[in-house]
């Protein structure tokens, strides 16, 4: 498709925004032969999945104008000569780096559609629980991956080891039943389940199980059913592509690179036109016209929607797709729902390679690691974190920062407390306790070089205020540590409405 102007054709779909779902949809539709106009109002790709250099990130913090991202802070820290920040473009920092379980639907979709070849996947090696309660022991406790790990764990006595294995079996369900534990009611939390009389597991083990869920909730607020599903997913993924790891990240900020790969896949078909710094300002649905008008126009416009763009173009399309922030909404601009879940998100650049946490039993070394910091472990001014904190660490092998540095993506539910202060304290204590241990005289403990901290609000389901069924509203982006398979499901739902079937979703056109 070679066109001179955007209004020269009737598009099958106009997609506003280049987040993960939008880009996946664009690639799938373009491969299915649909004519797609894909817009992003920013001068870069990815939206919430963007990967930015330091300069771009700084500009983002100043310009981010979104109803669900608030309180953005960009801070740099003094550093000793020679160990500071490098050239702006030596960094590729992801707003939603997102790991993928090796057993995830997304990963098998990427392999099936051959898109994995454009990505380079690296291991997420260690899963740790931070516990500094005993100053004599290592504050990072590796979460056991196997029965062997559990039996080699010196902090557990033999009885505890047996119980942990039993609890693990009951959750992962190798026998297909709950090992006679009995039906678990929906109201039971993960913590209640693990502390029930049959198990009576200590807090350290509860934390280890909780860390595998990648959920920001407290273990006593995490419904057991959900937690069970998450933990199963972890163990189901373990060993699929090599021993000892269950998740991968894509090089160059993972989810951010994935979004780019999807857009490129769409563009390469020739069916998708990409326009940056443009967006939808108005949507005129056919159905909103009076029946007589519609009858008049039917002959020439079929079921077309007219869409006005920021550039001034008025174009015709059969479908429109986007999140509320990218589509003109009839209700007052998407407001933060009073019950909306808030998260503190952040990106830290530190001057330490944190080598120890990327060590793995088998080569190649990992490039990603997860550190779970339980509630109450970080204290600032006699107040501590009331919710757990997740720290996702990326090494410089990801291409996101120069050698000798690493990136920490730190996040926490709840926006009432001061996230920036808590995160600074969490990162500093990690650096002190982890980096200093590996530090020698010539490699001192690292320090924070840069942080970007912001609040984001998870979206509730959008109310569909468009009548015709051809404007498809996506929910706001929800911050998660993994890129969840539910996003593929949401995308496929819309794909099905446009194409009529889910068959061969994202598979290469065989023309």
């Amino acid at each position: 498709m070679d066109i001179e102007a955007l209004d020269q054709t009737v598009w099958d779909a106009v997609i506003a925004g280049t987040g993960f779902r939008e880009s996946l949809l664009a690639a799938a539709l373009a491969r299915a032969g649909k004519r797609i106009l894909h817009l992003d109002r920013n001068p870069y790709y990815g939206e919430e999945y963007a990967a930015l250099s330091l300069d771009e990130l700084k500009a983002w913090t100043k310009n981010v104008n979104s109803s669900h991202i608030r309180s953005v802070q960009y801070r740099t820290y003094p550093a000793p000569e020679g160990s500071g920040l490098k050239n702006s473009r030596s960094y590729t920092l992801g707003l939603s780096p997102g790991l993928l379980y090796t057993g995830s639907q997304i990963l098998s979709l990427l392999v099936r559609s051959n898109l994995h070849e454009s990505l380079e996947f690296l291991k997420v090696g260690g899963w740790f629980v931070y516990d500094a309660s005993d100053p004599r022991s290592d504050p990072l406790k590796r979460v056991p991956n196997s029965r062997e790990d559990i039996f080699n764990d010196k902090t557990l006595d033999l009885r505890a080891k047996r119980v942990v294995v039993r609890a693990l079996k009951s959750i992962v369900g190798s026998e297909g039943t709950n090992s006679g534990i009995g039906a678990v009611s929906d109201s039971v939390s993960l913590q209640q389940y693990l502390e029930q009389p049959t198990f009576r597991l200590p807090p350290s083990i509860v934390a280890a199980f909780t860390s595998l869920t990648l959920r920001h909730d407290l273990p006593n607020e995490l419904p057991f059913g959900e937690a069970e599903e998450r933990i199963k997913k972890y163990f189901d993924s373990l060993g699929r592509f090599g021993a000892g790891f269950s998740a991968v990240i894509g090089r160059y900020a993972s989810g951010s690179e994935l979004v780019q790969v999807l857009c490129r896949a769409a563009a390469v078909t020739g069916n998708a036109i990409y326009v940056l710094e443009n967006g939808i300002v108005d949507v005129h649905e056919v159905d909103s016209m009076s029946p007589s008008t519609r009858a008049l126009q039917n002959e020439c416009t079929e079921q077309n929607i007219r869409v006005s763009l920021k550039s001034g173009d008025v174009i015709r399309t059969r479908h429109v797709v986007g999140t509320p922030s990218n589509l003109p909404t009839k209700a007052p601009a998407a407001q933060i729902p009073s019950d909306g879940t808030g998260y503190w998100m952040s990106i830290y650049v530190v001057s330490s390679s944190l080598k120890r946490i990327f060590q793995t039993d088998e080569p190649p070394p990992a490039a990603g690691a997860i550190i779970y910091v339980p509630a109450g472990s970080i204290e600032v001014d006699s107040r501590s974190n009331i919710n757990p904190i997740y720290v996702v660490v990326h090494s410089s092998d990801t291409g996101e920062c120069p050698d000798g540095q690493s990136i920490l993506y730190v996040s926490m539910k709840d926006t009432s407390s001061d996230g920036a202060t808590l995160f600074d304290a969490a990162v500093e204590s990690l650096l002190q306790k982890v980096a200093s241990e590996e530090g020698t005289a010539d490699s001192p403990a690292g320090h924070i070089l840069l942080s970007v901290v912001f609040k984001t609000y998870a979206g509730s389901e959008p109310s569909d205020q468009f009548s015709s069924g051809t404007v498809h509203l996506l929910s706001h982006h929800t911050p998660t540590i993994e890129i969840p398979d539910s996003l593929v499901e949401q995308t496929m739902e819309i794909y099905e409405k446009i194409v009529g079937s889910r068959d061969a979703f994202l598979e290469k056109a065989t023309l």
Partner: protein, 247 residues
């Protein structure tokens, strides 16, 4: 220690940029398939091709993103030069305006692309100039420059459509620190040389995580280390290592 073993292999992402109809796709076609098509259709959107380039010490696998020069909305290129280790900026040496566009791309790459990106400036369609027949003596693109500069002054013969002198483009390339070649995708002249020069100019350090020295290539271990030192090979869906199950 790696005696007899396969050479280390690294992937290098390369993006082609330049005005419409300067011959970007033809250069790639010549490099990848050693073929040429007259009156080729313009590229739409972009194309993706791969081709290996054997160096004495390693194999470079080029992942080539060929962009559409006529792209009207100027939004595709950022998608392609992101994380690219190399760029080939092409102009048509019979069309003065195409060098201006090439300079624009070079400036954009220097501003936006990875700091260590290797950029080659390539003047294509040498077959439409007088040099096209007298190429036997010149080995590389650079050795052409002296002869070309003179040739242009002296003989403005019929059939010489050259509008951009070698000297002009060469001095610009030197100023900006670019590799520089004049090529003919039609005859194949200098095409292989461009890619070899780029492969040689990629710093070792940017190749390391793709299987440089230190890559684990013992060949005995099971599973997914065929990709290189850091990568996880998803193509080998062999579940040989499915020993992680907890129970």
């Amino acid at each position: 220690m790696a005696d007899g073993g396969p050479k280390p292999s690294s992937s290098v992402k390369l993006v082609l940029l330049g005005e419409a109809a300067v011959g970007k796709s033809s250069l790639v076609l010549r490099f990848v398939n050693d073929d040429f098509q007259e009156n080729r259709e313009p590229t739409i959107g972009a194309a993706f091709l791969t081709q290996k380039c054997n160096l004495p010490s390693r194999t470079i696998k080029f992942e080539i993103w060929d962009t559409a020069g006529q792209e009207r909305f100027a939004s595709l290129a950022p998608m392609y030069y992101r994380n690219a280790q190399s760029a080939l900026v092409v102009y048509d040496l019979t069309k003065a305006s195409s060098l201006a566009k090439a300079k624009h791309w070079v400036a954009e790459l220097q501003r936006q692309a990875s700091p260590g990106i290797v950029i080659a400036l390539v003047g294509n369609k040498l077959d439409l100039t007088n040099q096209s027949t007298g190429l036997e003596g010149s080995m590389g693109g650079l050795s052409l420059s002296a002869a070309a500069g003179e040739g242009d002054e002296e003989e403005e013969e019929e059939g010489d459509a050259r509008q951009i002198t070698t000297a002009e483009a060469k001095s610009y390339a030197d100023e900006e620190g670019l590799l520089f070649f004049e090529t003919s995708a039609k005859t194949g002249h200098n095409v292989q040389e461009v890619f070899t020069a780029i492969a040689n100019a990629i710093p070792e350090s940017t190749l390391k995580t793709r299987g440089g020295p230190g890559a684990n290539r013992t060949g005995n271990s099971t599973g997914g280390d065929t990709f290189g030192s850091g990568g996880v090979n998803l193509s080998a869906v062999g579940e040989t290592n499915k020993d992680g199950c907890a129970c």
